[in-house]
Assembly symmetry: C2
Homo-oligomer: 249 residues x 2
């Protein structure tokens, strides 16, 4: 057991293409009188990462395919937006009720391939980072070089889920942290073997950070302190359910 603290990174300026997010976060913490500690997890929202990497598209420049036009009409969506959604997807998992659920190139199943129009400006759409683990690693190295302490970085996005209403923030990229805690080989206080228990600690960290940042205040990052995690560089691919074990394909 441990005590967890989560605090938003305040006063982060508008992120532009080429912004060094590690630098921006360290500067903002410093101005806010906050210091990183060894073992902190720095959580950065996808949108800030995507903006810094230039993953922003002006919709008027997108030419929709016939397939995008058909799907857009069916779901009552903008056909240029649907074109982007399809380009970012390897398959459409479900569509209906104005919702398009896809599997992204990274292997995530989510609404609209993660393409989003909120918090970016009129006529623009933001795509997920090409390689969110690599984004997380770059941010981690920048933060560690500036702060002198060892941290983990988790890049998060807001995903819905089947069967339950609402969304939670989940991890889409990570560096310096093993995303699943394995209890394999451990037993509970009664001697029962915890064979299949693997808490998705990066997702719980992502959700905890969202409690601190919210959606409206333009806060793109938070620090989660006190989490017991295993340092490592296995990335989020270890979290994608292997196709042969996936009961919901």
């Amino acid at each position: 057991m441990s005590r967890i603290e989560v605090f938003p990174v305040p006063g982060v300026p508008e992120i532009r293409k080429g912004s060094d997010l590690g630098e921006v976060i360290c500067d903002s913490l410093s101005k806010g009188g906050l210091r990183l500690e060894d073992g902190d997890v720095v959580v950065v929202k996808q949108k800030a990462v995507s903006k810094s990497e230039g993953r922003v598209v002006r919709l008027s420049t997108v030419v929709p395919s016939p397939r995008a036009k058909r799907l857009a009409k069916k779901e009552g969506k903008n056909e240029r937006l649907v074109e982007l959604i399809l380009r970012e997807a390897v398959r459409v998992v479900r569509s209906g009720h104005g919702v398009i659920i896809t599997e992204t190139r990274h292997g995530y199943v989510c609404a609209n391939s993660g393409v989003d129009q909120s918090n970016v400006g009129k006529g623009l759409a933001v795509l997920l980072p090409v390689d969110p683990d690599r984004s997380a690693r770059r941010i981690r190295k920048s933060i560690e070089a500036r702060s002198g302490v060892g941290v983990a970085v988790v890049v998060t996005d807001t995903f819905g889920r089947p069967w339950r209403r609402g969304q939670t923030d989940v991890a889409i990229g990570c560096s310096g942290i093993v995303p699943l805690v394995s209890y394999a080989g451990r037993t509970d206080a009664y001697g029962y073997a915890l064979r299949v228990t693997e808490p998705a600690v990066v997702d719980e960290i992502a959700g905890a950070a969202e409690l601190a940042t919210g959606k409206l205040d333009g806060i793109p990052a938070a620090v989660v302190r006190g989490v017991r995690f295993t340092r490592g560089e296995v990335g989020m691919k270890s979290m994608i359910m292997p196709r042969r074990r996936d009961l919901f394909r």
Copy 2:
């Protein structure tokens, strides 16, 4: 934005049938020199709630049906355990690879109808509470009567999810808190209407609590402080995806 703190409730004794969880939690906090504050969210793990409500079954007393025997054989599971899983379910959603995914009477889709053998003792299985919202309400009232402050209570369990490996703790019951934050009618800093954004704050709280308690130390409760939430008594039924909107039925 806000600063969040999560701390485990230390030193909770073994929970037995009839234990008043609100009393147990207040006593343990008090012995640990901790005080509840107005607006705290007290997170209680399902297993403690189920034990206090006598939802524990000795497997040797369960007579498996032919259907349970067939499914148990197919998935390589104990047939008495499968009998309990089927009794708690309204339907089997998927089964395969030794996993049985069901929809529970409450409307939750999860592995094994939430029936669990960890942290309970050999030969025993724990069922989900009959009405976890009612459980949460009872605990909240007991805590409020003792502490004199207004709190919310969230009852949590550990659920897997499709497409991603690992599990996160999620809410299965709540009292004193509206489970979804609605941004409907709100706009982001760029004027974009956040139509469909409804953070499942109870699930993010559940995950944050799990970061503090872990699975091994026998800590059945945690306090999450600093969350901005709406007080209310709508319960978890508001979080179940309506059948007509469910793309994954």
